[in-house]
C-alpha cells in the first residue's frame, strides 16, 4: 500500500527567541516491511537540516535558527510503501524452541537487552504497579504470538482504550488507576508485560490508515489518521520484530506506517527543542494528513 503523509508544525513565541535548536523524528522507517519512497523537509526561517540516525535506527533531522524570531515552522512530506500485507508471513519456530531462539538472539545482538531490561515510569516493573491483579506469566510450550494476543485481553481489562485521550503522560500509574488510557498507555502496559516474560518488546509511533477499517468504523471510535498512533513490536521467534496493537487488538499489517521506535515514548519524542528566550514556553500548532494513494 502506498501512503502520502504530510505533517506540519508551527512554533510561536510571545517574546523573540534566538539560538533555537530543533530535532525532529518524523521520517517513516525504510526497511524490509516498508519503503520510504520520498521525503521532503521544509523549514521557515530557512535552515539547513542535517539527517542522522539515532541509536534505535530512527532517522532524525536537526537544524538551528540562530537569529531572533517569533515563529518557526517546518513541514515534512513523505511517500511510503508498506509491504506487510500478512503479519504472519514467516516460518514459526516450534513453541518449545522459542525460548532458546530468543536467548540466542540476545547473545548475538546484546543491543536487544535494551528492550528487555528497560524500566521507567512509563514502562514500570509490573509487580509494583498492578497490585491485586494477576499478572499473566509466560507459559512454556505455548507460542509467543498466541501469548501476546491473549495478553490483549489482560491489557484491555487493566485499562480500557479511550481514543479521545491524548498521548501518554509522565507515568503509567495514572491511566492504570483511572482504568482507561490512550493507545500509548496500552502499548506501554503490553511492553511491561512482555518484558516481564524476559522477551524483547519495543514502543512504536506511527500512522494508522483508519479509512481502511470502514466496515468497523464503529469499533474505532474517534481514531483517525490525523494523529499519531502507538503500538508495540515484539521479537517473535522466526519472524523478528512483529507489530501488535493492544488498542485495537490487532496485529500490525500494511495499514500501519512505522515512524519511530524506542524503549518507550520518552525515547522518541517527535520534537525536541532548546532555545534562548525571555518569554514563556512556545505555543505549538500541529497538523497531520495521511492519505492512501493506492
Amino acid at each position: 500500500m502506498k501512503y502520502h503523509i504530510e505533517q506540519a508544525c508551527r512554533i510561536r513565541f510571545a517574546q523573540p527567541a534566538r539560538e533555537h535548536h530543533v530535532q525532529i523524528r518524523l521520517t517513516p522507517w525504510d526497511d524490509e516491511s516498508q519503503s520510504l519512497v520520498n521525503v521532503v523537509l521544509r523549514v521557515e526561517p530557512s535552515a539547513d537540516p542535517v539527517a542522522s540516525y539515532d541509536c534505535f535506527g530512527n532517522l532524525s533531522h536537526h537544524f538551528a535558527v540562530l537569529g531572533s524570531h517569533r515563529e518557526l515552522s517546518f513541514s515534512i512530506a513523505a511517500d511510503v510503501e508498506t509491504r506487510r500485507e500478512n503479519p504472519f508471513d514467516f516460518s514459526l519456530v516450534p513453541p518449545e524452541r522459542e525460548r532458546a531462539w530468543i536467548a540466542d538472539s540476545l547473545r548475538q545482538a546484546p543491543r536487544l537487552w535494551d528492550f528487555v531490561l528497560h524500566r521507567s515510569a512509563l514502562v514500570p516493573t509490573l509487580a509494583d504497579e498492578v497490585s491485586g491483579r494477576e499478572i499473566p506469566e509466560y507459559r512454556e510450550g505455548v507460542s509467543l504470538i498466541e501469548q501476546v494476543q491473549a495478553a490483549f485481553g489482560w491489557v484491555g481489562c487493566s485499562m480500557r482504550y479511550d481514543p479521545a485521550l491524548e498521548a501518554s503522560g509522565s507515568d503509567l500509574s495514572a491511566p492504570l488507576a483511572a482504568g482507561r488510557g490512550s493507545a500509548a498507555d496500552l502499548a506501554h502496559l503490553l511492553i511491561a508485560l512482555v518484558r516481564h516474560w524476559q522477551v524483547p518488546a519495543r514502543f512504536v509511533s506511527g500512522y494508522l490508515d483508519a479509512a481502511y477499517f470502514d466496515d468497523s468504523a464503529q469499533a474505532l471510535g474517534a481514531i483517525s489518521s490525523q494523529r499519531l498512533h502507538h503500538w508495540v513490536e515484539v521479537l517473535i521467534p522466526g519472524g523478528g520484530w512483529r507489530g501488535f496493537d493492544p488498542a485495537l487488538e490487532l496485529a500490525a499489517d500494511a495499514t500501519y506506517v512505522r515512524v519511530a521506535i524506542g524503549r518507550d515514548a520518552d525515547d522518541i519524542r517527535p520534537l525536541r527543542q532548546a532555545c534562548r528566550s525571555d518569554g514563556e514556553g512556545p505555543e505549538l500548532d500541529e497538523s497531520l494528513m495521511v492519505s492512501r494513494v493506492s
Partner: protein, 489 residues
Amino acid sequence: MLKQFQSGANGTLRESSEGPLMAYHEFYRDDFCPRDHYLPMWEHIQSVGQQILAAKVKEAHLALHTEGVTFTLYAGEEGIERVWPFDILPRIITAGEWNQIEAGLKQRVRALNLFLKDIYHGQRILKDGVVPPELIYRGKDFCREIMDVDPPHDIYIHISGIDLIRDEDGRYLVLEDNLRTPSGVSYMIENRIVERRILPEFFSRYRVRRVEHFPDRLLQALRSLSPRGEGEAVIVVLTPGVFNSAYYEHSFLAREMGVELSEGRDLVCKNDKVYLKTTQGLRRVDVVYRRIDDAYLDPLLFRSDSILGVAGLINAWRAGNVALANAPGTGIADDKAVYAYVPDIIRYYLGETPILPSLPTFQMTDHQDRTYVLENMQRMVIKAVAESGGYGMLMGPSSTTGQREEFRRRIESNPRNYIAQPVIQLSRHVCYLDGELESRHLDLRPFVICGREIEVVPGGLTRVAMTKGSLVVNSSQGGGSKDTWVLAA
C-alpha cells in the same frame, strides 16, 4: 568472590573479628623508624624544630589564601568557599614503586578505552560473555545515544584520575576509576608550588620529578584531537560556572593552558560546528575540554532543562567537527559495579595480567553476595554505583542502625545501584597538625593523560582524612591533601 574473601585467598584482606586491621604506614617501618626514603626529611624536621615548622604551616596557608586556592564545600543548600587544606609534610614515592603504578595505570586506561570503544560499537565483550549485558544495559551511565560514533583516535578517556590505596602489606590497589571529569589536578600543582616555596631545602635533598608541566601535556593531548589539525586548534574549557565546586580548577587549567574559559552560553552550534562568541564575531572551536557531566552537556539530546550545556554539541561531535574531552559515555566504565570486572576487561583486551589489583567487590545483584553483605553491613563499605565524592556511601563500622536499615532498604529496592567492599584500612602517613606529628589515613589520585600516547604525571593528589581514624579522604567530606613526590631513579 564470596569464597575468596572469606578465605582471605588474596593474602591481604584477612577478615578479622578481633578489630581493625593494622594499616600500612608510609612513613614508619614496623620498628617506628622512618623508612629509608624518608630519612633525609626526618632529619631535617628534627633539625629545624617546632617553631620553624609552625611558621611554615602559617606561610603555606597564607600562600594558598593569597593565591585563591579554594574549593567549595556544600553544607545543605549553601556552598562555603574554603582555603584548600594542605599538610606541609610531603608523601614520597620511590622510583621503583612509581614504575609499577605507572605501568598499572597505563595498562588500565588502555584496556578501559578499548572497553568503551567495544561497548559503544560491536559489543564483543558482551557477546563473549565476559561482562554480563545486564550490567551495561542497567547502568545509569551507559550512554546509548553515542552508539556507533567514532571519537578521534578511538579515545574516550583523555583525562582520568584513578584512586589508589595501599593495603596492610603496602600493596597498591585501585579503589576507583574516575573517568568522567576528575578533579584535583590543579591542587596537585598548587601543592607543589607552595611546597617549593616554603620548603625549598627539602627539594635540595631529593630528586623530585616535576608535575607542573601537566597543563602543557594536557594542552598537547587536546590539540592532538583537533579535527582541523593541531596548528589551527581552538580549545576551550567548558565549565558549569562559578557555583561549581571545582570552578577554581577550571579557571586554573584554562589560564595555565592559555585557552578560553567558557560557559555554555558563550558557545553556539551552527551546521554541526561549535563556535565561541567573541567581540570579533563567531570563532570556530575544535576541542572542548568539558567539565560538565554528560546529563547536562546538551539539552537537545540529554536533560532538556539543562541551562549549563550547549544545544547541538553532541551532533557536532558526532559529525566529527569538534572533539570532546572526555568523550560522552565514559561513566559506564567507572560504574562501581563494572569496576569489579576491570581485571577481566584487562585480560580480555590486552591478554595481560592486571598489574594493579582491584578490591574484592560484592555485587548486590548476586543473591549470595547480597545476603552476605546484608548480614555483615558493619564490616562493609557500601557504595552507590554512579556516585562519587563520597556521596551515597555507607561506612559500615561508623554507621548507625538507622543508616544501615536505610541502606538495606535501598539495596533491596534497587540492587543494581549498589556494590559493597570490605573495609580497607587505608595506609597512614605522618601529618603536622596543630604542632604535633600525627598519623592520618590517605589515598592517592594520580592523573593520566591520553593523547597520542598515554602519560601518567609523576605525582598526584594525595588526599588525607584529617580526622583521626577516619577513612574518608574526600575534600567534599572534610579531607585535606599533601604534596606527592615521585623520586627520580
